[in-house]
């Protein structure tokens, strides 16, 4: 080592300590930045000059300082991946559970005003009419109760239909966000590749990209494949959505109203490959698509379509049961074979359910051939409420089934939420900045800087002795 070598060694220490302090400063500055991953300076000791260069060089050589080799972003791919998949399932269940909650609260049960209570009042009105078959007010009370019932069934259907449309709008918005996020990831991919190829540090860009990747996984359940050039591929439904530098776009296709959803279910397609359905395997979008699914046998369809179908079933059952008895009865003036409920053609049963009689004279309360004040048919209709296959049972079965589905969805949402919490905790534990740790590092680097400076002073003093005071013997 040369005489001045020590100065360079000390200088490299100063530079390394300063770089380390700069990075610590960056960490502290970003202590609360969302998505920021802490960084460290990586450094290496520099060996003796010429060490190992030739087999003829020997003797002990001292290393010649330290070099800063890079700035490392301290993350863990596994932890990031776990966070992404946990986000996907949590988002899926939170959307699915939200849809069930909407349906559940639209039922308004159990209460004094729900459909079950109105049905009870409706049957009671028939009993009242059976008590007073000649009283016009009893007939009017029954008709008022019946129109309240039909209005409630129709409102229920329309609520389900409106909720479905809202969910579809939400799905469209989700697709727009997915496309935007994918575009950003593609841009960042390009920027990162260029920066890394040029030897620079792309840590902050990678942080941004990781944030977008997590949010894209939450939206679509996308999985991520890392490439050797620091770029990533994003896979959605088995196909590459984001490659190097370019992103494909998704579009939402299918019915835009609940009525037509059965014929053309809502689905997602690639914009550049229309007609081919993308099987979105998780995330908020999959949750939306599930809740938009048409009604299926056994009640396994989407909650909104199932609710709408149930209101139709309820309306049909009510009309069939009541009409079957009513048509056997006779009005006060002896007319028989009359219907009590009818359906407007072309409308869903729940919406098209209307009343035929407009006053007491159109209601067949008595059995055919009996006196004008006979109420036995009204009594028989009033007893439909107790039938084991009547509208009341259809309704309460549905309420119970919605209740248990909502509960299941809520339990799933809680469970996946807990998994997400664990994954987030693991990720923040790995990535986030700890101020105490940074303070400790700051002190360490400060001391390292001071030590290197002292070393420089020592070398300087040594050289001073050599240059200014040597050779003065005998003067």
């Amino acid at each position: 080592m040369s005489t001045f070598g020590g100065l360079h060694t000390a200088y490299s220490g100063l530079a390394a300590a300063r770089a380390a302090m700069d990075v610590t400063g960056q960490n502290i500055a970003n202590a609360t930045t969302a998505g920021y991953t802490r960084q460290r300076v990586t450094q290496e000791s520099i060996g003796a000059t010429g060490a190992g260069a030739s087999i003829f060089v020997n003797g002990t050589g001292v290393g010649t300082g330290v070099s800063v080799t890079g700035i490392q972003r301290i993350d863990d791919q596994m932890v990031d991946q776990r966070l992404r998949s946990a986000t996907a399932s949590s988002s899926y269940w939170s959307v699915a559970s939200g849809a069930m909650d909407t349906v559940e609260s639209s039922l308004g049960e159990p209460s004094e005003t729900g459909i079950s209570a109105t049905l009870g009042d409706f049957w009671a009105s028939w009993q009242n009419l059976a008590n007073n078959p000649t009283l016009p007010s009893a007939g009017n009370a029954l008709l008022a109760q019946a129109s309240q019932l039909t209005a409630q069934i129709s409102t229920g259907y329309q609520t389900a239909s409106a909720d479905w449309s809202q969910a579809r709008d939400a799905a469209s918005a989700t697709v727009a966000r997915i496309n935007e996020t994918a575009g950003r990831i593609a841009q960042l991919n390009t920027a990162i590749r260029v920066t890394v190829a040029g030897g620079g540090s792309a840590n902050e860009l990678i942080d941004q990209r990781a944030t977008f990747l997590t949010s894209l996984s939450g939206l679509t359940g996308a999985t991520v494949r890392s490439n050797s050039d620091s770029t990533v591929d994003v896979i959605v439904g088995g196909y590459t959505m984001v490659g190097t530098g370019s992103a494909r776009q998704l579009t939402i296709a299918g019915a835009s109203t609940l009525v037509s959803a059965a014929g053309s279910p809502v689905r997602v397609e690639w914009a550049d490959k229309p007609g081919v359905t993308v099987e979105v395997d998780g995330g908020a979008l999959a949750g939306s698509l599930t809740s938009l699914a048409p009604a299926a046998a056994g009640g396994s369809g989407g909650p909104f379509a199932e609710a709408a179908a149930l209101y139709n079933t309820l309306a049909t059952s009510l009309a069939t049961k009541v009409n079957a008895v009513h048509s056997t009865g006779s009005t006060a003036s002896g007319m028989t074979g009359l219907a009590f409920f009818s359906f407007t053609a072309g409308a869903p049963a729940a919406v098209g359910l209307t009343l035929v009689p407009t006053s007491l004279s159109g209601i067949a309360a008595g059995s055919a051939g009996s006196g004008a004040a006979n109420g036995s048919i009204a009594d028989a209709i009033g007893r439909i409420g107790q039938a084991t296959d009547g509208p009341d049972v259809i309704w309460s079965d549905f309420v119970v089934s919605v209740g248990s589905q909502t509960r299941n969805a809520a339990v799933q949402a809680t469970l996946t939420g807990a998994t997400l919490t664990t994954a987030t905790t693991a990720q923040t534990s790995q990535n986030s900045v700890d101020l105490d740790e940074e303070t400790t590092n700051l002190i360490t680097f400060q001391h390292a800087y001071q030590g290197a400076a002292r070393m420089m002073t020592a070398v300087d003093e040594m050289l001073d002795v050599l240059i200014n005071r040597t050779g003065l013997v005998g003067r």
Partner: protein, 296 residues
């Protein structure tokens, strides 16, 4: 997972999450305590909701049976009162007939007086037989005509055999009207015609001893019908008691399914309050210090 780094951000997030969870529990318990309902929505207890809906429907039906029974009792009481009135009238008619049977000792004026009173009794009987309850003749069955008996021909306007029934339980109905045809007879064989015949005989000076049997038979018919009505009233009252018990039981069931156990909820609420306050105070302590506070 081993205990890795614990960072300030992580601690902050955990603290926030715990406080949120505590608050959510507190809100849920407060809602339960203030509404008194454990079953707010079907998902709180799906099978309980099914039971609650069924119990509510049964309670609503029971409520209607109570209305039916009250209405039935109104009818029956009216029938009962008319029949009692008719019996009193007929007892007087029997007395008068017995008196008139001794016609040999009576002046024409006395016979005329008895005949006139008998005709008065007949009129009163017709008005009893045409008694109405809420616009309906209680002896006319399911007919909606204003009067059960024509005041001149004594023709019965009701459908013979038709009864007015009230539903008192899911499986049972009770008749609440009086059978006018059986109680008073119809047309020329009616009790009214019998009284007219006696009055006419008295005026004509004929012997009326033979008619005593007719009028006693008519009285017997009234008493028979009265007995039937009395038995139905007893049945209605029994049904009323039973229905009241059923309603009370249903309300107890409903409350058991839907309502909270106040003591339990209040204890839970108190302990949750304590948990929440602890979480707040622990958070306040944990988040304050950093290494910087201790470096000079």
């Amino acid at each position: 997972m081993s205990i890795g780094r614990i960072t300030s951000q992580q601690q902050m997030a955990t603290a926030q999450r715990n406080i949120q969870a505590g608050r959510a529990n507190l809100a849920r318990l407060q809602e339960q305590a203030s509404t008194g309902k454990a079953l707010q929505k079907p998902s709180d207890d799906p099978s309980g909701t099914g039971a609650a809906l069924r119990v509510r429907a049964e309670a609503r039906a029971a409520q209607q049976y109570a209305v039916n029974i009250n209405d039935g009792l109104g009818w029956s009481n009216t029938v009962d009162a008319s029949l009692s009135g008719a019996e009193d009238l007929l007892r007087r008619a029997i007395d008068l007939t017995t008196q008139g049977a001794n016609s040999g000792t009576m002046s024409a004026a006395s016979r005329e007086a008895i005949a006139t009173e008998l005709e008065g009794i007949r009129n009163d009987l017709i008005s009893q037989a045409n008694t109405q309850y809420m616009g309906r003749s209680v002896f006319a069955g399911d007919s909606d005509t204003g009067a059960a008996f024509d005041p001149t021909t004594y023709a019965f306007s009701g459908t013979p055999g038709a009864t007015v029934e009230r539903r008192v339980s899911p499986t049972e109905t009770v008749g609440v009207d009086g059978n006018g045809a059986s109680a008073f007879g119809t047309g020329s064989t009616s009790v009214f015609a019998v009284l007219d015949g006696i009055a006419a005989d008295l005026r004509a000076g004929n012997q009326i001893g033979g008619k005593l049997t007719d009028i006693q038979n008519a009285f017997g018919n009234l008493v028979n019908q009265h007995g039937i009505v009395g038995a139905r009233m007893a049945r209605l009252e029994q049904a009323q008691t039973l229905n009241l018990t059923t309603s009370t039981n249903l309300e107890t069931q409903r409350s058991g399914i839907e309502d909270i156990d106040p003591a339990k909820v209040i204890i839970d609420l108190k302990s949750q309050e304590l948990t929440y306050q602890s979480a707040l105070s622990v958070t306040a302590r944990v988040l304050q210090p950093t290494l910087l506070s201790f470096l000079s």
